[in-house]
């Protein structure tokens, strides 16, 4: 079937300007009904038409039955943040249909199961009743497949209504089912059936249309968790210990999958990567510290509740100076909280995680590309600074679909830090510094040298690792001067880290008095809001934080602006508070915008926050 024919038959929208490649499609289904494949196919088809897209899954903490929504945003300008208003609604879930219809913007198109009789609910939207239940009986003969195939029918209806190229749909179906002939055939039949039914029975009355562009050529679509996993694998991670927790589990699972394929020693056929599913998060980090102490690149993946459990071992890692990488895919807390919703909830607690004095290195990726690059950076930093390093992503970044350029290959050497691995290295060190003392700052950067258990057969190489008070030679002590010296050196080490962590990304605007500071997954909404503000005549400067501790650029940025809005996806303004502690007198310039309803940040929230602030 050719789309050209369809285009001729599809009547032009009456009375309203067409909205082309700039709207959201919202699909409401029940969890576990198999709609994920249909939604992916729809999103991929649009992507393959060259139109920038993003896909967000708003799902409950449930395996089957509770309502779930998938949003596909098409944006000719390339905006991929969540969009608040819904252009096209596909109602497949009777439980939520009434509520779903009430939430769409005036003028929206609503595709729904005919028997739900939704068309009396509103006068200001365009309704398209479709007999999905009847159609699936005709199109799919195997009763067991009908529950899944019914979702393919809406792909066909939407393809007709919006003008999705069927050739792209076919490609997307082949990709989704990895060219399994039977699956491709059954699903294509359902999609075509939906399209043909729509062609015969519907008249287009809404303004939403998709037209081919060329803005996605060469791009990939990936979830942040998979991106982080690829980064970890490429960084040569040797050990993963993890405990399943939403929304981080898919990161560990992606890493295990990729490593199973790409981390096998060709000579022995054995893996160069070891993994343990731990009994809890306490054990997971304990294992990581054991492996890091033994000299391996070791990591764990978790979310807020796991971070809480890792507090004690994090303190040990900090004081005993053991490298570890902890990926925190943040979600809404506390406790079980809203485990399937997104939040930048652990910034403050993780920065100081432990008992006693502790400050950690946090890397905060703002895109899937940075999930990949910063995963690699985090291992280099953990080994360079011999300390736990946290990669702070979130559910929005981690579990949603993002468009990106293919990731660049990194071939510079790994930074394995200050390790004496051989007898020769030890001898040279002793010749230069008289002896090996595990916690002595011989280089003036706060970072001591370390040896690894079992590597050098020489009493001069060994030391005793402990979290409790120790002197430069790693001997137990409770002497005030020894303790204080060690604490001061650890502070010096963090000072050195400021020269190594990813710098903020600063975007200046000519004559801007207003600045914005944001981090992580807020970036997409902030960039979109800045474009809109610019069009409205309010240029803004923008600094995107990419790490803690803060580096000097941040204070300079605040100094250069009159008012600076800090965007947090949490109720308490956690980064806003950390900045206030950092900035001294300039803290008075800061204003806080806080988004914390569990949904990903949208540009409107940023826009409204800044406009309200500027009217003050």
């Amino acid at each position: 079937m050719s789309t050209a024919v369809l285009d001729e038959k599809r009547p032009e929208t009456t009375g309203r300007a067409p909205v082309i490649n700039d709207f959201s499609i919202h699909v409401a289904t029940a969890n576990g009904s198999g709609s994920q494949s249909s939604n992916n196919i729809l999103m991929r088809s649009i992507f393959q038409m060259g139109i920038p897209v993003s896909g967000k899954n708003l799902f409950p903490s449930n395996i089957q039955g509770l309502p779930t929504w998938f949003t596909i945003r098409a944006s000719k300008e390339g905006f991929i943040a969540r969009r608040r208003d819904v252009g096209v609604l596909i109602c497949m879930n009777p439980e939520t249909a009434h509520e779903d219809v009430k939430t769409v913007a005036p003028g929206a198109a609503v595709i729904y199961e005919e028997s739900l009789k939704l068309d009396t609910l509103r006068q200001d939207v365009v309704f398209y009743p479709v007999p999905f239940q009847k159609l699936v009986l005709e199109l799919v003969h195997d009763g067991k497949l009908r529950r899944l195939a019914i979702n393919m029918i809406y792909v066909g209806v939407a393809a007709w209504l919006l003008g999705v190229d069927m050739a792209e749909v076919e490609k997307a179906v082949a990709k989704q089912f990895k060219s399994k002939a039977t699956a491709v055939e059954i699903n294509m039949k359902a999609i075509r059936g939906g399209l043909e039914w729509a062609e015969k029975n519907l008249t287009k009355r809404d303004p939403f249309r998709l037209e081919r562009m060329n803005k996605t050529a060469g791009k990939i679509i990936i979830e942040g968790n998979a991106a982080s996993a690829i980064g970890c694998m490429m960084a040569g991670v040797q050990f993963l210990a993890w405990y399943p927790i939403t929304p981080s589990s898919s990161l560990a699972e992606a890493l295990i999958d990729y490593a199973g394929k790409y981390r096998v020693d060709p000579e022995t056929g054995k893996s160069t990567f070891s993994v343990v599913q731990a009994e809890d998060e306490l054990a997971a980090l304990g294992m990581v510290l054991g492996a890091g102490w033994a000299g391996a690149r070791a990591m764990t993946t978790t979310s807020g509740p796991g971070i809480s459990l890792m507090s004690e071992f994090t303190g040990l890692g900090y004081y005993a100076e053991v490298p570890a990488v902890i990926v925190d895919v943040q979600r809404v807390g506390p406790s079980t909280g809203l485990p399937t919703r997104t939040m930048q909830g652990d910034i403050m607690s993780t920065y100081n995680l432990s008992h006693g004095d502790a400050r950690h290195i946090l890397l905060i990726p703002g895109s899937v590309e940075e999930c990949y690059t910063m995963a690699m950076d985090s291992f280099d930093l953990a080994e360079r600074f011999q300390t736990p390093v946290f990669l702070m992503t979130d559910l929005d970044l981690g579990m949603n679909n993002w468009m990106a350029d293919p990731f660049p290959f990194r071939d510079r050497p790994l930074d394995r830090g200050k390790v004496l691995k051989t007898k020769e290295e030890l001898d040279a060190h002793v010749a230069k510094f008289r002896e090996f003392a595990r916690y002595r700052d011989v280089d003036g950067d706060g970072i001591p040298w370390r040896t690894l258990p079992g590597f050098i057969d020489n009493p001069a190489a060994t030391y005793f690792t402990r979290g409790s008070g120790h002197n430069e030679r790693a001997q137990y002590t409770e002497r005030p001067d020894d303790y204080k010296n060690n604490m001061d050196r650890l502070a010096r080490k963090l000072e050195t880290a400021k020269k190594f962590v990813p710098r903020p990304v600063v975007s200046k605007a000519e004559g801007a008095k207003v600045g914005i500071i944001a981090y992580g997954s807020s970036d997409f909404a902030v960039e979109e809001a800045r474009v809109i503000l610019g069009r409205k005549g309010l240029p803004t400067g923008y600094l995107r934080l990419r790490a803690l501790p803060f580096t000097p650029e941040t204070a300079a940025f605040v100094a250069a602006h009159d008012r600076v809005y800090v965007i947090d996806q949490n109720r308490d303004g956690q980064m806003y508070d950390l900045l206030r502690l950092e900035l001294g007198a300039d803290a008075l310039k800061l204003r806080s915008i806080r988004h914390y309803d569990g949904f990903p940040l949208d540009a409107e929230t940023v826009l409204e926050g800044i406009e309200a602030g500027e009217k003050r």
Binding site: K219, Q238, T272, G286
Partner: protein, 347 residues
């Protein structure tokens, strides 16, 4: 740490070291502490087994017992972790470098209470390590509270009575599939050193639960973990002899009175039966023995259960022979073609 003057072993072992070279720093425990006796036997066992000391990884949690890893083998690395969490640290280290010889020292609080969860999973995984519990029924460093291995009815110095039943770590270990489960007494040095050598020769987790009286908080007459009580009540289930892998087996034995157990590294344990028909390779018998001992408040010592052929965690995980930690960076980093392939699939 001083060498044991009674020992008849030669002045240097197969790797050319004296027993002194397996020593550590000076103990800071109370004078007469059972733990110091155990430290000497660990030192002796490492020496006699000719373990290269730089390969020894000493692991511990928190408590009096956990301090003792500083008192032996200071030519090896030590890691004093957090309370009850030594098993996790040991697991991580051994997964990436199984060429290490992991010796864990824990206590009854560290193992049976705060660390019970990790202990259970260490055993379930069969991580290759020797796990020694220095068991005295009380928390020493916090001044004498009951631990979960204190027998029901035993009393503190203050007169407080323990109402709860003891957790039997050996029974727990057998139930969870541990392949080397021994109980000993810090006052029975000959038996202890033989059991420790056997533990070092075993592949997988080897548990040695040693009753080690606390002279300060739990050595009074109403305690069932005092020197006097232990000396008066200890019933060895067999006499144990250890024949290291490098010695030829010269002496024949009578299978009627003696049982021979071949360990993983080629060493042998010879058990001269003191308890008729007890077979420590029989899991059912071993569990029944533990249950009977607990019911009768008997203090039975020896190699309670042994199954030397169990696969350890690395084997179960399909790990290769080469320690991951020794692999060159180039081996750990996939080539550009791998990344290109992944990216192409995402387009």
């Amino acid at each position: 740490m001083s060498s044991n003057p009674e020992t008849k072993t030669p002045p240097s072992n197969r790797v050319g070291l004296t027993v002194k070279e397996y020593g550590g720093s000076k103990s800071t425990l109370c004078v007469g502490c059972g733990h110091d006796v155990i430290t000497r036997q660990i030192t002796q066992a490492l020496y006699e087994m000719s373990i290269p000391p730089h390969k020894v990884a000493k692991l511990s949690g928190i408590g009096c017992s956990s301090k003792t890893t500083a008192y032996f083998a200071d030519r090896g690395h030590g890691f004093n972790a957090v309370h009850g969490r030594m098993p996790a640290v040991a697991t991580g280290a051994m997964m990436v470098n199984p060429s290490l010889v992991a010796v864990g020292v824990s206590g009854d609080g560290d193992t049976a209470s705060i660390g019970a969860g990790q202990f259970v999973h260490l055993l379930r995984r069969n991580v290759p390590m020797v796990y020694i519990v220095e068991n005295n029924g009380v928390y020493g460093l916090t001044k004498g509270q009951f631990s979960a291995t204190a027998d029901a009815g035993s009393r503190l110095k203050t007169g407080a009575v323990n109402d709860l039943p003891a957790i039997d770590l050996c029974a727990m270990a057998i139930e969870l599939g541990c392949g080397y489960v021994a109980r000993s007494f810090s006052g029975d040095m000959k038996q202890l050193v033989a059991l420790l050598k056997g533990a070092l020769a075993h592949r997988g987790t080897a548990l040695v639960d040693v009753i080690s009286p606390c002279v300060t908080f739990n050595n009074h007459d109403s305690s069932t973990k005092s020197y006097k009580w232990a000396k008066d009540h200890e019933i060895p289930i067999h006499e144990i002899g250890f024949i290291p892998y490098y010695e030829e087996i010269a002496v024949e034995y009578d299978p009627g009175t003696t049982q021979d157990v071949a360990l993983h590294d080629g060493s042998h344990i010879r058990l001269r039966k003191l308890r008729e028909d007890y077979d420590p390779t029989n899991k059912g018998q071993a569990l029944a023995l533990c249950q009977e001992a607990q019911e009768k408040t008997e203090f039975l010592t020896g190699l309670i259960y042994v199954e030397p052929r169990k696969k350890d965690f690395l084997e179960l995980s399909g790990a290769g022979a080469a320690p991951i930690v020794e692999m060159a960076d180039a081996k750990l980093r996939p080539p550009k073609s791998a990344l290109d392939e992944i990216m192409a699939a995402l387009k």
